[in-house]
């Protein structure tokens, strides 16, 4: 079992948090050319899981993918350029925040249709097994995705073919403003998964370290036992579903829960585990990286007009 690298965890956590804070800052200027679904509050899952991955593993995420992409080690230059709608982005700005994708880090193009990448992740895992490739597929999804029938079709197929895939359910309890209990007769996602043949663990509100360690162990099990797994992590979305505002004014979820979660912010816990000097160094490094990526994006060109009808066919 590898040791948990707190510095690296804090670096990634801080990098994600500050990147999204920059987005919040910048958003009113309209320089960012797409809707954004922020991960604030949910970063522990992205950081913990991604730190456990190998280079050859493959990540499927969704429209709420900033944290996953950054934690995966994606290029900040491409990330910011894509948000700016620039040709130096992951896809010339044609994809935007909702469709990040980068082959350099095995980060698959994300979708804004809930649950629609999940069967793709399963198919990718089928190919990995068929081709005898090493990489394991990791598929992040929300609790809302679990409502979709395709989710259960996908789990069944993954179990039927004993595929090397880890599903990671980021349960922030909400699909937009609708609580899980208003959507599911039973909210026992892991129990359901077990009856479909996927071994599943509910980690509750877990620390980055716990998520990291559990993921490591499960990845080993996947390799040994050749079977799919699911982990469910509870978490809290700090901001509105989409956009850069708090959604407290909508008064649809109890303030207390949200306030408690914000008070309980994992980023401060990680920070508390490190010397002040180290924290300062890490913060500086992260901010430098963000700033230079943003300048790079600022200075990049918009895509040329011919890009509109380029790439339609491969």
């Amino acid at each position: 079992m590898e040791k948990f690298d707190i510095k690296q965890a804090y670096y990634l956590y801080y990098l994600i948090r500050k990147s999204e804070e920059k987005i919040i800052e910048l958003y009113p200027t309209d320089k960012i050319k797409s809707p954004v679904h922020l991960s604030n509050g949910q970063e522990a899952i992205a950081v913990g899981v991604n730190m456990a991955l190998e280079k050859e593993d493959i990540v499927f995420s969704n429209y709420r993918g900033h944290a996953h992409y950054i934690a995966r080690g994606g290029s900040l230059e491409k990330f910011w350029s894509e948000l700016y709608g620039k040709s130096s982005g992951t896809a010339y700005g044609k994809a935007g925040s909702m469709h990040l994708g980068d082959h350099d880090v095995n980060f698959m193009t994300t979708s804004a249709i809930v649950a629609s990448s999940i069967p793709q992740a399963v198919g990718y895992a089928y190919a990995q097994k068929y081709l005898d490739n090493q990489g394991i597929v990791v598929c992040f999804h929300g609790d809302g995705a679990v409502d979709e029938g395709v989710y259960w079709e996908s789990l069944n197929f993954a179990a039927l073919h004993s595929l090397p895939i880890l599903f990671v359910c980021e349960n922030n309890k909400y699909a937009i403003y609708t609580h899980q209990e208003r959507r599911m007769a039973k909210t026992n996602i892991t129990e359901k998964a077990e009856t479909f043949g996927v071994s599943a663990f509910d980690l509750g509100y877990a620390s980055t370290e716990k998520i990291y360690k559990k993921t490591l162990r499960i990845l080993e099990s996947i390799k040994e036992k050749n079977q799919p797994y699911l982990i469910e992590c509870e978490t809290t979305r700090f901001m509105d579903h989409v956009g850069v505002q708090s959604d407290k004014w909508l008064d649809y979820r109890s303030d207390k829960n949200l306030d408690d979660a914000i008070k309980d912010d994992e980023i401060f816990k990680l920070e508390g585990l490190l010397d002040k000097d180290i924290v300062n160094d890490i913060q500086k490094r992260a901010l430098d990286n963000i700033n230079s990526a943003m300048s790079y994006a600022e200075m990049s060109d918009y895509p040329s007009e011919d890009k509109l009808i380029g790439d339609v066919y491969g």
Partner: protein, 330 residues
């Protein structure tokens, strides 16, 4: 009756809904977020408070089952309205719409009709990208047993929604995100608009422009531009796409001998193709053109997105070309 009562397209939809819900307990509304604080651009706002949570309710993310659920409720005599935040999501509902809803009346020899309304918004607006901006009216026009409407004005939005709710068939009610805030005259009383009747919304003599939903607005603006160089464009809002008021478009095209269909979607096998083929079959010597989305998914970045969509200038340039009048804008 206040002839000057201006309300928004979104409020017109809300009003139609409330009026019908008051008149008829069999009308129910459901969809993702319909009872949330935003109430789908205000169109469903607080309906659950006014009519109860069994008449207006949120649902799981289960588009396939929720479409079938609405069909089943309709078979039992309700008049459900299923609201979608984006038309793109209808791709998850195609089996129930195409294989089921459209065929129930036929296969039951009119014993089981399906008075279901499916409201779906075209999501276009800044940066919505490839999966939140699509329009699929051409799909639904293709399938017998389905009706599809796409009102542009608040006035038609109210009247045609009332008619759609009362219609005994599955009706796709196509909205457009960029129309919700548009203001227009809407009577306070309860009224209907006939499905299958279009409108000439601007008269003209030189060329006929036919739009769909938001592109009707584009056509009107193009007509303004064209008028400045002396071209008189007639603009048609079909309102109802199936049944479609072919006669109205034929009459206008017969008069102007020039037709541009500005579709609100891709062009291959489209509404535009359909209208032009109808003209080609039934009239002679009408010059026809189509304008629509670029032949690509919708890009997110602004400068490409602008080129992706039809706009008044593109329409006016094309119109000028086929009118062949050698004048130009300065």
């Amino acid at each position: 009756m206040d002839k000057n009562r201006m309300i928004s397209y979104g409020d017109a939809i809300y009003e139609a809904c409330v009026e019908e819900m008051k008149k008829d307990r069999s009308v129910i509304v459901y969809g993702l977020g319909v009872d949330d604080p935003k109430g789908h651009y205000g169109t469903t706002k607080n309906l659950h408070k006014e009519f109860g949570s069994d008449r207006c309710f949120d649902i799981p993310l289960s588009e396939d089952a929720m479409t079938g659920m609405g069909i089943g409720a309709a078979l039992a005599g309700l008049r459900p309205i299923y609201v979608h935040q984006r038309m793109d999501f209808l791709m998850l509902c195609m089996n129930q719409i195409v294989n089921m809803a459209s065929k129930m009346n036929y296969l039951s020899s009119s014993n089981s009709s399906v008075p279901l309304v499916i409201r779906a918004a075209i999501g276009r607006s800044w940066g919505q990208g490839a999966q939140h901006s699509q329009a699929f009216h051409s799909f639904f026009m293709h399938i017998p047993g389905i009706k599809i409407v796409a009102p542009t004005t608040p006035h038609d939005a109210k009247g045609i929604l009332v008619s759609s709710i009362r219609d005994n068939n599955p009706v796709i009610f196509m909205e457009h995100r960029m129309l919700y805030e548009n203001q227009g005259y809407v009577p306070t009383h309860n009224y209907t608009e006939e499905l299958g009747k279009g409108r000439v919304i601007r008269e003209g003599t030189d060329i006929t422009l036919v739009g769909v939903s938001y592109t009707v607005v584009d056509c009107l603006r193009a007509a303004e531009l064209l008028s400045t160089i002396g071209i008189s464009a007639e603009v048609i809002d079909p309102v109802s796409l199936y049944p479609l008021d072919y006669n109205l478009i034929r009459k206008s095209s017969e008069k102007t001998k020039k037709l541009i269909v500005v579709d609100n979607g891709w062009l291959t096998c489209s509404f535009a193709s359909e209208v032009i083929s109808d003209i080609a079959i039934n009239l002679e010597n009408v010059k026809c053109r189509k304008i629509g989305y670029a032949d690509s998914p919708c890009p997110t970045t602004k400068n490409l997105e602008e080129n992706f969509y039809p706009d008044p200038i593109k329409i006016a340039i094309e119109a000028n070309k086929i009118c062949n009048i050698k004048r130009d804008w300065k």
